[in-house]
């Protein structure tokens, strides 16, 4: 093999060297970075992090109603997992020479430790495919879920930047600590900072500081009725993470020996990195403009004014702009209930979205005066309207699909004249439709409309109605507050009767109900009468175990009113 000769100084009388001319440093860095990037991408840690990150995104996106202004940030949760594993893998890469006892050999090579470290940092490009794949796959998954809005490229880019910044931190760690535990602890610190970031939300004085964390879990991002410009501050956060990555690279290179020029370059780079971080911090901390928050809280406090409404089959569906895709989720259970009614009630039922926005969210509301906050608070305290002549069921935004049963039950309870909580008819809170046939009918309507199996009951508890212990049933989603102002407390007796009704041959219940519908809606008509009309025995109701010894009186307990 003939290789070009090279001249050497001080090499008296020797033929030219059979080797290439010294390579330019940049080419060496790129060649080494390419080799390291291939290793990094094939690292089991990175692959495991990618899989785990994907699993996290799947779990988060699939269990909630995705809106892009929340989902894009939630995709970052998966990137946090990938970032933690990349941090550990990068630390192992940077410490490999020392850990494997190759330091002495490496010191004999013309490529310096600084060049090798620079190549390690450049090799982080090798994890770009992994993090971009995670982001793209997450976007595809979210789109498949049926998401509202459009994704924010800045937020998605911030997630990618997080992985690169974590990798750079891992390189910095590896140049100082060769023990593999250092990388694992570094990954854990990142993970814990992420999972515990919500604790900072309890400190109003911190304002927007939680955004400066590598990644946070924001409080109400998913509850916003629409996108809020610059919230979360994805672009600025991506810039912050870029600055952190640069600073970590400087920290890694500081360990390596070098001359004055090397030190100068590092100092300049550190200053640039600090400046980038400073600018990004300044961009993330300002408060959201008052006008934008005015619109937001107004839309939350008075939803129907901000929503577009469509009427179909005597039901008015009101949705925030952009939420049209949610309409089928509303229509299915509501139509399912109404189609079974022998007689439709006269008033038009409104099904509307609602938000559960609150003011104690420092990253959202920081920087505004006390007076302004009080105005917004007063606005949010007023519940959305619902009357007997203009009945409305409000479904919490983000829970539209999960609220299927709750919505069906709410519709059915309206259809059978059961009063909602805190309604003008029932201002004292949730009443109990004790031994009222209409309650069983409402539950039956909800079961058949949604085909709910209800095999695993969330639980039962005992309440007092007119000094009588009544066993009530906690239906799926009742404690999740899918609907604001839900209906009465449902009794176990009503549930059991409804389940028995659902197992009857098709058409039988409809015929019985249709024969004298107004009678069944009367609150005096009992479960026993309904059971007798249907020809089924009255189910026996389980008695909840008393925690008190026999003969002991229970402590004083609030009474629940009877629904009338």
């Amino acid at each position: 093999m003939n290789m070009p000769a090279a001249t050497r100084t001080g090499d008296v009388g020797r033929p030219g060297l059979t080797g290439a001319a010294p390579a330019r440093p940049l080419r060496t860095v790129l060649s080494l970075a390419g080799a390291e990037a291939a290793l990094l991408l094939r690292s089991m840690l990175v692959l495991a992090g990618l899989l785990a990150g994907g699993a996290v995104v799947w779990r988060v996106i699939w269990t909630s109603e995705p809106v892009w202004w929340n989902a894009a940030w939630q995709i970052g949760y998966g990137q946090v997992i990938l970032a933690a594993s990349v941090l550990a893998a990068a630390q192992l890469t940077a410490s490999r020479a020392r850990r494997d006892g190759m330091r002495e050999l490496y010191d004999s090579f013309p490529v310096s430790a600084a060049t090798r470290t620079l190549a390690h940092v450049a090799a982080l490009a090798g994890v770009l495919p992994a993090t971009v794949l995670l982001a793209c796959a997450s976007v595809a998954l979210t789109q498949a879920r049926g998401v509202i809005g459009t994704p924010s490229p800045a937020v998605l880019a911030a997630g990618v930047m997080l992985v690169l910044a974590a990798g750079a931190a891992g390189i910095a760690l590896g140049t100082r600590f060769a023990h593999p535990l250092a990388g694992i602890l570094g990954g854990m610190v990142l993970f814990v900072l992420f999972t515990q970031s919500y604790r900072l939300l309890a400190y109003p004085a911190l304002g927007g500081l939680p955004w400066l964390f590598p990644w946070t879990i924001p409080d109400q991002l998913g509850s916003l009725p629409g996108p809020l410009a610059g919230y979360p501050p994805g672009g600025a956060h991506a810039l912050e993470l870029a600055g952190v990555a640069l600073l970590a690279a400087v920290a890694a290179l500081m360990v390596t020996k070098g001359g004055t020029r090397h030190r100068m370059r590092l100092a300049v780079t550190a200053i640039v990195a600090a400046a980038v971080i400073g600018v990004s911090v300044a961009a993330q901390l300002p408060s959201i403009p008052t006008a934008a928050l005015n619109r937001l809280f107004s839309a939350a406090a008075n939803p129907t004014a901000a929503q577009h409404c469509t009427t179909a089959g005597q039901v008015r569906y009101c949705l925030y702009p952009g939420f049209d895709a949610v309409l089928p989720a509303f229509q299915a259970p509501v139509s399912g209930v109404l189609s079974q009614l022998p007689v439709r009630p006269a008033p038009v039922l409104t099904i509307a979205q609602d938000t559960s926005l609150a003011l104690d969210d420092p990253p959202l509301t920081h920087g505004h005066t006390r007076a302004q906050m009080d105005r917004w608070n007063a606005e949010l305290q007023v519940p959305p309207p619902s009357t007997a002549t203009a009945p409305a069921i409000y479904v919490t935004e983000g829970d539209e699909r999960a609220a299927r049963f709750a919505l069906a039950l709410g519709t059915a309870e309206w259809a059978v004249n059961l009063p909602a909580e805190n309604s003008p008819v029932n201002p004292a809170g949730a009443c109990v439709a004790l031994d009222q046939a209409r309650e069983a009918i409402a539950i039956w309507l909800a079961i058949t409309a949604t085909h709910a199996s209800l095999t695993r009951g969330p639980g039962i508890q005992a309440v007092l109605v007119h000094d009588t212990q009544v066993v009530v049933w906690i239906y799926p989603g009742e404690y999740d507050n899918y609907t604001s102002a839900p209906g009465p407390q449902t009794t176990v007796a009503g549930l059991l009767l409804a389940k028995a009704m659902a197992s009857l041959p098709e058409g039988k219940v409809e015929r019985v109900l249709g024969a004298s519908w107004p009678t069944w809606l009367n609150w005096h008509t009992t479960d026993a009468q309904l059971a007798a009309a249907l020809g089924i025995p009255m189910p026996s109701v389980p008695v909840p175990a008393s925690p008190l010894p026999p003969g002991t009186s229970p402590p004083a307990q609030a009474q629940n009113p009877l629904c009338t």
Binding site: G10, G13, P15, A20, A35, R96, D100, Y106, V111, R116
Partner: protein
């Protein structure tokens, strides 16, 4: 100061008054050497300073005192030090590896560290050293799956990358079987470009077979510089055979012919004097250094 045997002005490697301490232990004491192209064998017992000397020549360790010049370049100057490293192939004594690397990937990686940035050139070079060390069939194997001898050959292979002008090999034949040791001699003899090779070993017969020049290092000092024949000649008349162990000998062992080989200062009258080997010369020097 020890005697220098070559013209120090033109020698490729010049070492002048080199000393190195590890804490209170002096590993090298005022070592002066001049080495030129060809193979120089470095002999010495454990702790003699061989590895220290080699690591200084490989620009891995800094001397505490003295001067070193390699191809006219001063390793104290950073750019010249890098230049030396460009012409250097080094095999440390205890080389651990990135065990999860495959053989080919490891060599490719080392080639990049030797500034071979052209991929095709690198691939050709890796193939060349694999063939030279008989490791072609192991290219895709992970290093952790290699035997000790193969790993040693891999260490030699990485040192050969880039056609170095200077090869520094610390115990290169450790772990090699007899055939591999012979192939190693063949390899060194066939190296193109006639590089300067400094190798340390405990195997005196390796030195005798391939090194035109031997340096014996004892307790951090150069005790002998010359040809293997000259080293063997230092034991002239001081090696004899006998039917049983001779207590006057410094060292005595029974050979395959059932006769005792004795090495010492005073053979008895009438003793059957046998021709000395390089090993005998080295043993006598080592004994002299210990009893000094």
């Amino acid at each position: 100061m020890d005697e220098m045997t070559l013209d120090t002005q033109t020698a490729a490697i010049r070492v002048d008054g080199l000393s190195r301490w590890y804490g209170a232990t002096q590993a090298l004491a005022e070592v002066s050497l001049a080495l030129d192209r060809g193979i120089t064998g470095l002999l010495g017992p454990n702790g003699a300073g061989k590895t220290t000397l080699l690591s200084v020549l490989a620009t891995v360790a800094e001397p505490d005192t003295g001067q070193v010049s390699v191809f006219g370049l001063d390793p104290r100057d950073r750019s010249e030090r890098v230049e030396i490293r460009r012409r250097l192939g080094y095999l440390p004594q205890e080389l651990r590896y990135h065990r999860h690397f495959t053989v080919a990937r490891f060599l490719d990686y080392i080639a990049i560290l030797k500034e071979m940035t052209d991929r095709r050139q690198r691939a050709e070079e890796v193939a060349r050293v694999l063939a030279a060390t008989g490791l072609e069939g192991q290219a895709r194997k992970r290093i952790r799956a290699l035997s000790g001898g193969m790993r040693q050959r891999l260490g030699i292979a990485q040192a050969l990358l880039g056609h170095p002008d200077l090869l520094i090999l610390d115990e290169p034949t450790a772990g090699l079987d007899p055939e591999q040791r012979l192939r190693f001699r063949e390899l060194l003899s066939d190296l193109p470009g006639d590089p300067l090779i400094v190798l340390s070993t405990h195997q005196a017969d390796d030195i005798a077979a391939i090194s035109p020049r031997v340096v014996v290092l004892l307790e951090g000092r150069v005790c002998f510089t010359g040809t293997p024949a000259e080293l063997a000649a230092t034991a002239d008349g001081r090696v004899w055979a006998s039917g049983q162990r001779d207590e006057r000998a410094h060292l005595s062992w029974r050979g395959g012919d059932n006769l005792w080989r004795n090495v010492g200062d005073g053979p008895p009258d009438g003793a059957e004097i046998i021709p000395p080997t390089v090993e005998d010369g080295y043993l006598l020097l080592a004994h002299a250094a210990v009893t000094r």
